[in-house]
Symmetry: C2
Subunit: 191 residues, 2 copies
DNA sequence: TCCACAAGTCTACAGTCGTATACTTCGTTC
DNA sequence: GAACGAAGTATACGACTGTAGACTTGTGGA
């Protein structure tokens, strides 16, 4: 362990997983090949299958990791609607180029097997997080609709590239979105 | 012209286009091959390229046709929010199995070239239609946000298959959505 | 020191993809 | 009725896909 770890299984696995998150988020499940992912991780293509069983196995773990990321929503129930709106506008800004789990979902949902994996992880992690932060959405459809609104905005603004959403003043966008989320999350006050 | 037209260029072209709408909507641009589309139209694969130049050319025309379909939104500005909510819940119902332009968009958006084609057609046809029916959304971001909400709901309920959205009472869903659209479309009254 | 096992790579296979070229078949018009 | 052009098909090519199997290389412990 003196010099750099050249043959470190855990590190290699982590590198592949990281490359997988990036590639699947950018290009979607069907838009990228295992050879490309392996090259980005600096390893041979077959290591993907060795560590994750298959391309689908890697995607399942990528979805798990991505959906567990809690930077999507805020933590304060009182300012939740405002926080979601602000973060959404900021992270979908033309300059921003990040690895949102919503991009992973949007770009991979066309594949039925990927869609099923995504559904399972969204319900287990993301919806659960919404319930946690905004308890009064539990038992209703509102948590899922919040996610639908966020996903739809990501889609139109970043994946499709709507010029209406990219040309409008971001303050206006944020106001529109905040009104929507305040409608959906009763506990979030206008401030 | 007495018997059935066996060698009718216009009819063949139309058959390929129809098969293209169905296939691209169901499986997305990258999820279906030209051979499969041609077989559904009852012709050889190369006719796709003869009539539409390429797979991408066929997709462009499919997008044009699909986005020009005006059954998505209602026509009465006063009841627009309610109509959109009702149609959205009905058409995303588990039993329903239709060819919504939103499904076409959601399942093909991962491909960058398809996304660009979709963007152009959405702005030219769908957004324009929203402006037409709800003039007070013009010049704002609201028409695009309406589309984002619709797309997000389609995504979560039909493409991903969210059990929250498929298990909830449809009346409740419709109420939630109507509130959202009434927020976005000022001219639509609660009734 | 050397060996056993883990870590990693190479090669190959069977399939699918979009599409270009060459071909055949049909309908129409003189 | 024959021929010309349009409508449609067959074949093939090169690139790419996921992954199985055999192989090589490195490293930690005895």
């Amino acid at each position: 362990m003196s010099s750099a770890h050249r043959r470190d299984a855990a590190a290699t696995r982590a590198a592949i997983l990281r490359a997988g998150v990036e590639a699947f988020t950018r290009y979607g499940f069907d838009g990228v090949g295992v050879r490309e992912i392996a090259q980005a991780a600096g390893v041979s293509a077959m290591l993907v299958n060795r560590y994750f069983g298959s391309k689908e196995g890697l995607f399942a773990e990528v979805a798990e990791v991505s959906m567990t990321d809690r930077t999507v929503l805020g933590d304060d129930p009182a300012t939740l609607a405002r926080d979601i709106a602000a973060a959404l506008v900021r992270r979908t800004s033309p300059a921003a180029d990040n690895l949102s789990p919503f991009l992973l979902m949007l770009r991979s949902a066309a594949n039925p097997r990927a869609a099923e994996i995504l559904r399972e992880n969204i319900e287990r992690h993301v919806e659960a997080h919404v319930y946690e932060v905004a308890p009064d959405t539990r038992g209703t459809d509102r948590a899922a609709v919040v996610l639908a609104v966020i996903a739809g905005f990501w889609l139109l603004r970043k994946v499709i590239g709507s010029s209406a959403l990219n040309g409008t003043d971001e303050k206006t966008l944020e106001t529109t979105l905040r009104q929507l989320f305040e409608t959906l999350i009763p506990s979030a006050t206008t401030g």
